[in-house]
């Protein structure tokens, strides 16, 4: 930590960890997956509404 190193693009990056420990991001990823599911459900509801409306108007 705090050593002067070059990053992948050759820039000086003075804040680079010496040892990388993968942070536990499983909770965050689970939440994001949940959001994707919710998006699908809402889109499905909107499409269902469009179909019902069109049938109702026929």
């Amino acid at each position: 930590m705090g050593q002067n190193r070059k990053d992948r693009k050759g820039r000086s990056a003075d804040v680079v960890p010496v040892a990388r420990t993968q942070d536990d991001v499983s909770e965050e990823l689970a939440y994001e997956r949940g959001l994707a599911r919710k998006a699908l459900i809402v889109v499905a509801l909107v499409i269902a509404f469009i179909i019902v409306r069109q049938l109702y108007l026929l």
Binding site: R11, V15, D23
Partner: protein, 502 residues
């Protein structure tokens, strides 16, 4: 001659149709932006994060913050972060209240962790205040990361380390958190803002993560690597009212990524009245006008080093920036069509409002689901976001049969029988509403300070909607910039009523 006039009239009609269709673009863009949120589980920066706790200087610009600064420092000292790696630097912008004494007392309470930086000549604005602190911080090499925040915001315990972990990737220059409205008990206005922040931050910034470009680092929560601070010149831009957006753009132009961390939660006190909101948003909107002009060479010009020139980013930026113009154009075209080709105008009106209705249903439902905590607290304001009048028009357009029945029967319940002319006038009013809603929003602002405004102003906001109120502010910002009005830094008043949710 008659044939020529007929052709011209047809050509004019198609131009008017195009004008109405322009009104559909922001709606489709908003839906596209929210659909991108669903991709955030695949396209995000979590694959590159690592446990990383750099020495972090927290820079707090403060002018007369005696009500909030002590609580903020206490909260920061409770962060789940190694204390020896934290330094809270309060840049006191020549405060005239007891802010210096409060900060000095905190220096004694937390020796080595709190620093008081005093500016004897203040009032030049936030950017100048920040630059005073930055100059002192960059003078030695203690600082490895810099967190810029506001004096009133409260960080959740783990929020800082959730942000710093992204800096483990040296390609990342800056990280921002999800700022939530935290006023307790709050009122109708703070609930509107709470809901708006889900759409503008939790949703919009997730979609920007997916696109690989961020429009703005939140002023109350922006974390930079030291390398990034130095790369952007070690200074915050002082030429505009949108210093946060300038910093965000400069970071990305320097080839570094900017990341939004939606799980780092920060709570801030937001305006509780129309006039306070107007003052704050006018500053932001004028800043956006300045950014748009300053970076005019970037828009819609893709570049290898950054995504600021991407089509999607430009689309989102200009749909918000030009929304008042779009509303006025669509409304004017509908009204003109009303007089020259009523059936066509009716078709276009229905198309515009049906798309509006579908977008509304999709965005409102998804917004509440994105942040259920705030969504539960502010769902009524979410539902009323477009305003009662627009909701009625949406209902009429989306459910025409019950809508038509209601329009014909509801007036008879109070003894009114609408004539043909009155029905047409009602339709004309609906056509005008897109633009007229902004004018009524001005009225809500104008009446707030008066005795009648106590109930009338909130009622008008629910009637016209919070969205049109923001559009009115944006419109006002165009006028101010065109007239070259003075750039005055109007600080949002803070009272210390922000708290973490219990």
């Amino acid at each position: 001659m008659r044939a020529l006039l007929h052709d011209l009239s047809l050509g004019g009609e198609w131009l008017l149709v195009l004008g109405v269709l322009i009104g559909v673009i922001p709606l489709l863009a908003a839906s596209y932006q929210f659909l991108l949120v669903g991709l955030h589980y695949r396209v995000n920066h979590y694959g590159e994060v690592a446990v990383f706790l750099p020495r972090t200087a927290i820079l707090i610009p403060a002018w007369n913050e005696e009500l909030v600064i002590a609580a903020s420092i206490d909260r920061l000292m409770k962060l789940d972060y190694p204390r020896e790696r934290l330094k809270i630097c309060v840049v006191d912008d020549a405060s005239t209240d007891s802010t210096p004494d409060v900060v000095k007392a905190k220096m004694l309470e937390y020796p080595g962790n709190v620093v008081h930086m005093r500016r004897e000549k203040g009032g030049q604005g936030k950017a100048h205040t920040l630059n005073h602190g930055l100059k002192l911080l960059l003078a030695d090499d203690w600082m490895e990361a810099l967190l810029i925040m506001d004096a009133d915001v409260i960080y959740e315990e783990k929020s800082l380390q959730k942000m710093t972990r992204h800096l483990a990737d040296p390609d990342v220059g800056a990280v921002t958190a999800y700022i939530k409205e935290g006023s307790r008990p709050g009122n109708y206005m703070t609930r509107f803002i709470g809901y708006e922040y889900i759409t503008a931050q939790a949703a919009a910034r997730r979609s920007q993560n997916v696109l690989g470009v961020l429009a703005c680092l939140a002023g109350g929560a922006q974390l930079h690597s030291r390398a990034n601070v130095e790369a952007i010149g070690g200074q915050i831009d002082t030429s505009s009212l949108a210093e946060d957006t300038f910093t965000t753009f400069k970071t990305q132009l320097a080839g570094r990524k900017v990341v939004f961390e939606p799980h780092a939660l920060v709570f801030a006190e937001e305006p509780g009245s129309i006039n306070a909101l107007w003052k704050q948003r006018l500053r932001w909107a004028r800043g956006n006008v300045q950014v748009t002009l300053q970076f005019k060479h970037l828009w819609f010009r893709p570049h290898r080093e950054h995504r600021l020139g991407s089509f999607s980013f430009g689309l989102f930026w200009f749909c918000l920036f030009l929304l008042p113009v779009v509303m006025i154009v669509a409304s004017s075209c509908l009204v003109t069509l009303f007089f020259i080709n009523f059936p066509l105008s009716w078709q276009m009106f229905n198309l515009l409002w049906i798309i509006s209705g579908l977008t509304y249903v999709f965005i409102t439902s998804f917004t509440i689901l994105i942040d259920p905590t705030t969504g539960t607290h502010a769902w009524k304001e979410g539902v009323m976001f477009p305003g009662a009048v627009s909701l009625l028009i949406i209902l009429y357009a989306c459910l025409p049969r019950p809508g038509r029945w209601l329009i014909h029967h509801a007036p008879t319940w109070v003894g009114i029988h609408l004539t043909f002319l009155e029905t047409r006038s009602l339709i004309l009013f609906a056509y005008l509403w897109l633009a007229a809603s902004m004018a009524v929003a001005f009225l809500a602002k104008a009446t707030e300070g008066r005795r009648v405004g106590k109930y009338l102003s909130p009622a008008l906001v629910y009637l016209v909607g919070y969205g049109p109120l923001l559009c009115a502010v944006t419109f006002s910002s165009y006028v101010k910039e065109l007239r070259g009005a003075e750039m005055k830094w109007d600080k949002t008043e803070k009272t210390g009523k922000v708290g973490l949710p219990t």
